[in-house]
């Protein structure tokens, strides 16, 4: 089915989120919509899916003008959407989720589950999905859950499939599998709109690329375009994708983790007897697929895990058993992996967030009273130093884009005298420009002699930053390898295979 958007304009108040956007997706084509966060990609797709009504412009399917009053109309017309955050009911089975909303029934209204199961099997077999219709969704890995979403869309005869940042939650392997699935779908004649800001994926799978910036189409590109070309189109200026990083000036081991084990609240061993160290002036990256104990390792270092065995020492001082406050006071800077949950209070202003973890003492508090002038001077300074784009220091953190939120967290943590920086997923969900900024700052901290521990599931990031890489798998460290280790070796390690000839494995 051919999809055409003509002059779509969507305004929110005085703000133009989509400004006369034209887009043509041919049948059997994978069309990439590339753009930074906040460029208007999701707004455009919400217009297409009938969630928003366009102020101007029209949507055409096979050259017929459509009028969608809601997602139901869009679905009926053959448009399917795979959302970034899955719209599945976790306690239902795959078949139940797939039939949700258009349940086949027997006479009298009882559900025809067999029919739904058959449908799931049929689609699953057609594309080699390997999904059990009776599996409960919450028990499935994220990658499989996504396939359930795809099946759901296909079961409603979708001829145009929209993938909204589908790889954000996937492991590299799952991402590769998704790419295969997209190619298969394309061969059956399905048109695909693929929204992303990850350049590697775009070049691998796209037939055509449309770049959106600040609500406008800035141009089309071919998948053969280089990363630098695509990135500069997205951001509107030249972007450095690999950061300049001099040789590390190594000092003494500062953070020493010895035989560390962490037991989670359900009683499972999530970090299993690991040992490593981080030297002053060095970046050690913990690589690995999400959920292999990295989160718990970081929380153990920060004193956020109650049941920890083994030792964590910083400059010779034991950190295990100390409170979060004491660990922060020992000079540990922490960028949590989920800034909205752990890093920021979204209802607080930028200024309040900048003093969140040192509200207790000087310079922000005197006799239990907050020093507003000090805080406002400090915040104004950090706003410009860290290029936080907001109306002012009073802007609520929740109203900032992801990149600016992360800058607030970084500004807070890097403004203290640091003896260790722990950054978990520091660029998750950020656009290219912000990634560059965050990476530069992290390398600057290293060059200032601060030991840095970076945890990331993105291989690109690990390779870009690390002086040494420790790969975690099922709570243990598979091996610790130099920063220039080839990606395929790292990939194998992430799947649990120890590297050959590496003597440093823990």
């Amino acid at each position: 089915m051919k999809l055409e958007l003509r002059g779509i304009t969507k305004r929110f108040g005085t703000l133009v989120a989509n400004d006369h956007i034209d887009l043509v997706v041919e049948p059997g084509e994978i069309h990439c919509l590339l753009g930074e966060n906040g460029a208007g990609k999701s707004t455009l797709m919400n217009v297409l899916y009938g969630i928003y009504k366009a102020d101007e412009g029209e949507i055409l399917l096979d050259d017929k003008v459509q009028n969608f009053a809601g997602p139901g109309d869009a679905m009926a017309a053959g448009i399917g959407m795979v959302h970034q955050h899955f719209m599945l009911i976790p306690v239902f089975t795959v078949a139940e989720n797939v039939m949700l909303g258009h349940e086949p029934t027997h006479f009298g209204g009882s559900l025809d589950l067999a029919k739904a199961r058959a449908k799931v099997r049929e689609i699953s077999d057609r594309f080699g999905f390997d999904v059990d219709p009776d599996a409960v969704v919450e028990d499935l890995p994220v990658g499989v859950q996504q396939r359930v979403e795809i099946i759901k869309a296909l079961s409603r005869d979708a001829h145009v499939l929209v993938f909204d940042e589908p790889t954000a939650v996937l492991t590299p392997q799952e991402t590769d599998e998704l790419m295969l699935i997209m190619k298969q779908l394309k061969e059956t004649g399905t048109s695909i709109v693929f929204i992303t800001h990850k350049l590697r994926e775009v070049r691998e799978v796209a037939d055509r690329i449309t770049v959106v910036r600040l609500g406008k189409v800035v141009g089309e590109a071919k998948p053969t375009a280089s990363n630098e070309e695509l990135a500069s189109m997205m951001v509107g200026r030249a972007v450095e994708l690999t950061i300049e990083k001099g040789k590390a000036k190594l000092g003494d081991p500062a953070l020493v983790v010895e035989k560390l084990s962490v037991i989670d609240p359900i009683g499972q061993l999530v970090v299993n007897n690991i040992s490593f160290d981080v030297k002053a002036g060095e970046i050690v990256a913990i690589a690995g697929v999400q959920g292999n104990g990295q989160t718990e390792l970081v929380e153990a270092i920060m004193g956020l895990q109650p049941r920890v065995r083994g030792g964590i020492s910083l400059d010779g001082r034991q950190l295990v058993g100390r409170t979060v406050r004491e660990i922060l006071d020992a000079g540990v800077g922490f960028v949590p992996e989920d800034r909205n949950v752990d890093g920021l209070v979204s209802e607080f202003s930028i200024a309040e967030n900048l003093m969140l973890d040192r509200a207790n003492g000087a310079p922000f508090a005197k006799f239990g009273s907050i020093q507003l002038q000090t805080l406002s001077d400090f915040s104004t300074e950090k706003l410009s130093e860290f290029d936080i784009r907001a109306q002012g220091i009073g802007t609520l953190a929740g109203n900032l884009s992801g990149g600016n939120q992360q800058k607030v967290v970084l500004a807070r943590e890097l403004s203290r005298e640091l003896h260790l920086l722990v950054a978990a997923q520091p660029t998750r969900g950020l656009d290219v420009g912000s990634v560059e900024f965050v990476h530069t700052r992290i390398v600057e901290a290293r060059d200032a002699g601060v030991p840095v521990l970076v945890v990331s599931t993105e291989l690109d990031e690990v390779v870009a930053l690390a002086d040494r890489i420790a790969v975690m798998y099922r709570g243990g460290i598979v091996g610790i390898v130099p920063g220039d280790t080839p990606r395929d070796v790292l990939g194998l390690m992430m799947a649990g295979e120890a590297p050959r000839g590496s003597g440093k494995a823990a």
Binding site: V142, Q268, D342, V345, Q391, S401
Partner: protein, 439 residues
């Protein structure tokens, strides 16, 4: 969100140990999990509304109150019988009943033109302030809890203990004027704080939900105070069989500020001070900063090194103390002739309403307390002069809360723009960019 789930899925793979033995341990080690999302989201939604919404809710409920007044009026009912032959009669009857009701509400709560002289005319306002005083104090306590993400429903118990402690000091000691009052005041506030702090302690230590503990502590407090009231040698007046205390000694009574003509006592000025204190605590102090951080996002607060459990404990002490202050006002200001177990007069629960209407902001609570004080004062005169049941006033009060709890309804009625969270986020995002572009 997905990341959490993600890790759970893969965590399930390694060795599965029987979790039963560790369950208790986990409970003890990690008592405070973030509030269940739906619950705190609902509270946040209610609290984050603007002052405009509060005013709209009041307007809307006054309109509905008017309809109810008209519908329950006998004159209106009679004229409705021949509405089609003489519609004017019914309209006049409606106008008479509604305007009469609300003008008597005004005259009963603010200024009575029918009384001779300014001093007599302004008496209703003094009455309003007297009713408002304990409401504001207790409302501040509940609001403080809200700001830290806690729902203090234990106002009744905290008031009863505050009243009992203050009353006991007030009638059983002989102390000089001023000092006696001060000690009674401190005793009452401390008792309320202790009772509130107990719920906070239980939450911090064991994770027991404060809604349940404060409700149950209400019963404990009520029956315990009742027992003391009916036990000779405790709070019971000597030589009496009634569950009632002796009268407060004059040295402990809050002085009437404007002379014997007015009921308004010094407590009103204390409550102005308390409002200012709560404002300072929340907006200017480090402790209040931590309260708010814990209330908005306990995870981030914990990650930032704050002791979330300790904050729950502290905030419940402050909350209980403020509600206890309301109890003190009752026994040392409003009813000084000795009190029984009904001394709380439902203020502990009305305080929740006041806090909600005031959006949990100190001066908002102050204003809401004044409004409710006016309803209380005016309600009596409505009943006396127009024969309108006091229940209608209570219906109006309850309607206000109902509308505050249902912001979309009020928005729909007044056709206010709907804040679409998705759109709002997008706008904010783009505005951030735009601001930079235009600079």
């Amino acid at each position: 969100m997905t990341t959490r789930k993600d890790s759970k899925v893969s965590k399930a793979e390694p060795e599965k140990k029987p979790a039963a033995s560790s369950a208790a341990e986990t409970q003890a080690a990690e008592p405070v999990e973030p509030q269940s999302g739906r619950w705190s989201n609902a509270v946040r939604e209610i609290l984050s509304g603007s002052a405009v919404m509060s005013v709209m809710a009041i307007v809307l409920s006054i309109i509905i109150g008017g309809i109810l007044i008209a519908a329950t009026d006998t004159q209106v009912q009679q004229t409705a019988g021949y509405f089609f032959s003489r519609p004017g009669d019914m309209l006049k009857a409606i106008w008479d009943s509604v305007s009469g009701a609300y003008s008597s509400l005004f005259q009963g709560s603010i200024y009575n033109f029918r009384r001779p002289g300014f001093v007599n005319g302004i008496k209703p306002l003094a009455e309003t302030l007297t009713f408002a005083t304990p409401l504001i104090a207790a409302g501040l306590g509940v609001a403080l809890g809200f700001r830290a993400g806690l729902f203090n429903i234990g106002g009744r118990g905290q008031m009863l203990f505050g009243a009992a402690a203050a009353g006991w000091v007030a009638f059983s000691f002989d102390l000089p004027y001023g000092l006696h009052l001060l000690i009674a005041l401190v005793a009452g506030v401390a008792a309320g704080g202790l009772w509130g702090g107990l719920a906070g302690f239980l939450k911090a230590r064991t994770g027991a939900h404060e809604v349940i503990t404060t409700i149950m502590l209400n019963y404990v407090a009520f029956y315990f105070v009742y027992w003391m009231l009916s036990t000779p040698g405790m709070l019971q007046a000597p030589g009496s069989n009634n569950p009632k205390t002796p009268a407060m000694k004059d040295t402990a009574i809050l002085p009437n500020f404007f002379g014997p003509n007015f009921q308004l006592h010094f407590g009103f000025f204390i409550v102005i001070g308390a409002t200012f204190f709560v404002w300072w605590l929340l907006n200017r102090s480090t402790l209040g900063f931590q309260f708010r951080a814990v209330g908005f996002n306990p995870n981030a607060a914990k990650t930032a090194g704050m002791n979330v459990n300790r904050m729950y404990f502290y905030v419940m002490i402050f909350s209980g103390a403020l509600v206890g202050l309301a109890g003190v006002f009752q026994v040392l200001g409003t009813v000084t002739t000795g009190f029984s177990s009904g001394i709380d007069a439902g203020i502990g629960f009305d305080a929740i309403t006041v806090a909600l209407l005031g959006r949990s902001k100190p001066w908002g609570v102050f204003a809401a307390g004044l409004l409710f004080g006016a309803f209380k004062a005016g309600g009596f005169s409505m009943q006396a002069s127009q024969g309108i049941p006091i229940d209608i006033v209570l219906v109006v009060q309850s309607m206000i809360v109902l509308f505050i709890a249902a912001p979309p309804l009020v928005r729909a009625v007044f056709r206010l723009p709907k804040p679409n969270p998705l759109a709002a986020a997008n706008i904010a995002k783009l505005q951030g960019k735009k601001a930079v572009v235009t600079k």
